[in-house]
């Protein structure tokens, strides 16, 4: 019986800038069903953090309730974690981020956690433009309670038991764009080539970065007739672009076809290099993105890749003009300036 992963790793495992191998970014062995898409997303997060040479202790993973929200146990075992109340991950993340702005925040949620019980929190965290990566592992069903249709299940999608979903689906990506999220991407758990650079870019986005990742539930929602199965998604997926995340690169590469190549500069000087596949789409124009999503929907296509990015808007700390030192590092001397300073302030009101 193997509930423990063997400790040996490939002796020639590559090392990153910190001298760590991927092992330092792994978590415990997953207890999700074999073949769960969520495990692939976990692996993509591990790979992205490893390749970005992120210090594991500078990452916090915060989740709600559900299969998706269990996954933080299965990646970044050396990072901080908070498994919060169902649908309330954004509140906890907001609190944590307010206290310490120097961390990378991974919010991990599912379609039930975000699109049903946590919808209110989801909407407001977008409104606040909290600096975090918000990943929805979207499988269109409640996998933890035997696979009932969730709010993101497509109308007409057939469940494993044979019933057809009569309700319209909530399209989280469209919703996020409508609400003004500053980084919106969609991907598929089975395509790490796309997912890993998206996660990297999301980590570098200063503001709310939303990733809606379709992640098949092998146990309850991988049947013919389902619109979230491996086969269906692979047949109906359309990528907006192929993309590279460029951590530091000044000069322009020329191997992309002219007119199809777009680059988006992030706050910290990093770049997203996009090789566009979709026409009439501009990742920095909300209207074109909304149109592209609507067009894709009418054609039964699942549009993936980076959909929208806006680097102009301030994140929550920027809006609130907080000090540059994280609040949790402020000393008593900073917070209580003393009688003299108080006198000065009071004098200012006289």
């Amino acid at each position: 019986m193997s509930y423990l992963k063997p400790l040996f790793r490939h002796p020639k495992l590559p090392k990153n800038k910190l001298g760590y191998t991927q092992k330092e970014y792994e978590g415990s062995l997953s207890t999700l069903c074999a073949g769960c898409g969520h495990d692939s997303i976990s692996a993509a997060i591990v790979q992205a953090c490893f390749e970005m040479s992120v210090e594991p202790h500078k990452v916090a993973k915060i989740s709600g309730i559900g299969c998706s929200s269990k996954t933080p146990t299965y990646f970044l075992g050396n990072s901080h974690g908070f498994n919060s109340v169902h649908g309330r991950m954004p509140s906890v993340a907001t609190g944590a981020s307010m206290a310490n702005k120097d961390m990378v925040y991974f919010g991990v949620s599912g379609d039930g956690d975000s699109a049903s019980i946590g919808m209110g929190q989801f909407v407001h965290v977008i409104r606040r433009n909290l600096n975090m990566v918000y990943i929805v592992m979207n499988n269109g069903c409640y996998g933890l309670t035997k696979g009932q249709d969730s709010a993101t299940a497509d109308q007409g999608s057939r469940s494993k038991a044979g019933s057809v979903n009569p309700f319209q689906a909530i399209d989280l990506a469209s919703l996020a764009i409508e609400l003004g999220a500053t980084f919106v991407a969609q991907s598929f758990s089975g395509d790490k080539q796309q997912l890993v650079p998206l996660i990297k870019a999301a980590m570098h986005h200063k503001g709310f970065a939303f990733l809606n990742v379709i992640s098949p539930c092998v146990t309850f929602n991988n049947n013919p007739g389902s619109t979230k199965s491996y086969d269906y998604v692979r047949e109906h997926i359309e990528a907006t672009s192929t993309l590279d995340f460029v951590p530091e690169m000044p000069e322009i590469k020329t191997n992309y076809e002219k007119g199809k190549s777009t680059r988006v500069a992030m706050h910290d000087g990093t770049l997203i290099q996009l090789n566009k596949l979709a026409t009439d789409w501009n990742p920095e124009d909300r209207v074109s993105v909304a149109n592209a999503l609507q067009h894709a929907r009418t054609k039964n296509e699942i549009l993936t890749g980076l959909l929208y990015v806006n680097t102009e808007w301030k994140d929550l700390h920027g809006t609130l003009s907080t000090c540059s030192t994280p609040l949790n590092k402020l000393k008593e001397t900073d917070l209580c300036p003393g009688v003299e300073a108080l006198g000065e302030i009071n004098a200012g009101y006289r």
Binding site: M1, S2, Y3, L4, K5, P6, L7, F8, R9, H10, P11, K12, L13, P14, Q22, L29, S30, C33, A34, G35, C36, G37, D39, S40, S42, A43, S189, G190, D191, K192, Q193, Q194, P216, V218, T219, N222, Y230, D231, R234, E235, I237, E238, A239, T242, L277, T304
Partner: protein, 618 residues
């Protein structure tokens, strides 16, 4: 069209790609079992290690006996080519103590005779002569006796065993262990003629035998006839293997206090350690090559050093020094190794003065050679320019179709396990030949592939991977072992330690079997594999594909398992190099596209061959 193809539109699709691996070829999975593949006799190592773990020592012994004939002997003295091949070496550092685990099976076995062929066997009317009573001949005898052959074994010594008796000292291989295993074979109804030196092969051939097997080893120890002082000091200069035989048969009972042993192989180690037990106080091994490049097995060198033997490397002998007709020592030239760009070594003299080393007796253990003075050159048996018989490498048949060779006699000195392996093959040939069949038409190996799945997380093998480091075999106290040359130095693992050592085995024979049709490409196996062996990628030519894996597959001696093209146009590629056979890929596979299946591979022995049905005339 899948999105993967779209993403790759701009790429140039490679024209040449790797073909799907043919796992139906028994050699593919066989090669994955590194230890078994490296063993000349292809003993199913993981199979018997699991039996030892289950304390089924008798069965473990029989798995060995079936394959290598002398588990007790080999569990102590084997050259163990399996161990450097062990996957554990590539994963951590030290191999599983395969050899010493084999000894545990032999030490703790129960009644094994009940599982051995039971004579008397109905005669098939054929008569075979075996010349020499060493491991090769005894293997032939064991394989052919149950088929009804009348077997006559000739040996010049008083008992069977060949070099296992005459050259391996008792402190490494107790006589009782050897006798027991030799007798298992002789008791199958072999007609033995000991103390019989065969003087003429022609005479043997005229004796009405249907076939003759020559397993006379490499009986001639190399000498240094041209070295000054060799003749004058002859009384105190001995050839290593002859001297060891003298000790074994109790003709030699003592040695002088100061001894020089020339040579750096295992025979030199046996000579120096035996000298320590026969009265040698200052025993020095002097060898031409650097210490690290000596031919002796590392563990043999360690044991010699432990017994206060001085190993002096980089010294080339110049002369034997004799005073008043008595040997007083030897002179040596110091050399240093110089390597050219191809890594070829040259030993160049240093500027330093000649070195004189005192000695009362010298043992020359610088190699051994074949010697066939008793084979006539006019009986249709060709010899090559080096005086070696011309022998087919597969069938072991000589140019005289009735005469077969095996062991050191066939291709020069190697080791016991090679002799056994060759004995098996020669026996197959002899049987084919006596049946009037083509000796080149070899029987296929026996193979079996069975799923080990018992439940979601349960396998019928122990899939956990122990991180324990290799356990050390305890030794008897030096104060005791140096007093008595028959006192075995190694005590062997106790059962508890043996169990821990067995858990280090990675069960490489439990194969990761991949079925493409079931794969849904969820990547679960790729994500979970602890040693990053599995990659789903676009097919390419082998060198390119090897570079495109999660961790590039740079060990070219290890194969890639390549699947057929999958739905998305990719292939599954598994680098066999450091797979732990932990079964996690199969546990995390939702569709059982991966399964752990135990692969058993046994070379077919003569007594296991299916005899073709007699032709019925119409």
């Amino acid at each position: 069209m899948s999105f993967f193809n779209k993403n790759w539109e701009s790429d140039i699709k490679p024209i040449l790609t790797m073909k799907p691996t043919n796992t139906k070829d028994p050699e593919y999975y066989h090669k994955v079992v590194d230890c078994q593949y490296a063993c000349p006799a292809h003993t199913p190592v993981p199979e018997y290690i699991r039996l030892i773990a289950a304390e089924r020592f008798t069965e473990a012994y029989m798995v060995n006996w079936e394959s290598n004939v002398f588990p007790g002997v080999l569990g102590r003295t084997c050259d163990r080519p399996c161990e450097p091949a062990c996957r554990r070496v590539r994963v951590e550092e030290e191999p599983v103590a395969i050899c010493r685990l084999k000894r545990v099976a032999a030490d703790n076995k129960g009644d094994v005779r009940q599982y051995m062929p039971q004579g008397p066997f109905p005669s098939n009317g054929k008569k075979i002569a075996l010349i020499g009573g060493g491991p090769a001949s005894l293997t032939v005898a064991r394989d052919l006796a149950p088929l009804g052959y009348e077997i006559h074994l000739f040996d010049e010594q008083v008992a069977g065993g060949g070099m296992m008796r005459s050259q391996i000292p008792s402190f490494r291989l107790p006589e009782e262990v050897l006798n027991e295993e030799v007798n298992f074979i002789l008791d199958l109804g072999i007609h033995t003629q000991f103390l019989t030196y065969v003087k003429s092969l022609k005479e043997v051939l005229e004796g009405g035998y249907d076939a003759v097997f020559v397993g006379t080893g490499a009986p001639k120890g190399r000498d240094l006839p041209k070295l000054p002082g060799r003749k004058e000091g002859d009384k105190n200069i001995h050839i290593g293997i002859e001297w060891l035989a003298g000790v074994a048969f109790e003709h030699t009972k003592s040695i002088a206090s100061k001894v020089i042993v020339l040579g750096g192989g295992n025979t030199a180690m046996d000579c120096c350690r035996t000298s320590r037990r026969l009265g040698g106080k200052e025993v020095k091994v002097v060898v031409r090559s650097p210490f690290d490049e000596m031919k002796a097995s590392p563990w043999e060198k360690e044991d010699a050093l432990h017994e206060d033997i001085n190993i002096i490397d980089n010294h080339v002998p110049l002369s034997f020094e004799v005073n008043d007709g008595k040997l007083i020592g030897m002179k040596f030239q110091k050399v240093k190794p110089v390597y050219d760009e191809n890594g070829k070594r040259q030993l160049l003299p240093t500027e330093e003065d000649e070195v004189f080393i005192e000695a009362d007796e010298v043992l020359i253990a610088i190699g051994q050679e074949n010697s066939f003075p008793w084979i006539e050159r006019n009986i249709g048996l060709e010899f090559d320019q080096w005086g070696m018989p011309v022998v087919d490498e597969v069938t072991f048949q000589s140019t005289n179709v009735k005469v077969f060779f095996g062991g050191d006699a066939a291709f020069g000195p190697k080791n016991v396990i090679t002799a056994v392996a060759q004995g098996h093959q020669a026996a197959v040939s002899i049987h084919l030949f006596c049946e009037g069949l083509d000796v080149h038409d070899r029987p296929s190996p026996y193979t079996n592939l069975v799923s080990q799945k018992m439940g979601i997380h349960e396998w019928s093998y122990d899939s956990g991977v122990a991180i324990d480091q290799r356990y050390i075999v305890p030794q008897a106290k030096k104060s005791q072992t140096l007093k008595d040359r028959k006192k075995e130095v190694e005590l062997g693992f106790d059962i508890a330690t043996a169990y821990k050592e067995t858990q280090r085995c990675l069960n490489c024979d439990v194969q990761t079997v991949f079925t493409e049709d079931r794969c849904i490409e969820c990547d679960a196996c790729m994500d979970v594999c602890p040693t990053s062996c599995i990659t789903f990628t676009i097919n390419a030519e082998e060198p390119e594909l090897r570079q495109n894996l999660l961790v590039p597959a740079e060990n070219l001696t290890q194969d890639l398992l390549v699947s057929k093209e999958l739905k998305t146009g990719r292939v599954m590629v598994k680098d066999e190099d450091v797979c732990l056979h932990c079964g996690l890929c199969a546990e995390r596979c939702p569709t059982s596209a991966w399964d752990m299946q135990k692969f058993l591979y046994n070379t077919t022995k003569a007594n296991q061959m299916i005899t073709p049905l007699p032709l019925i005339e119409k």
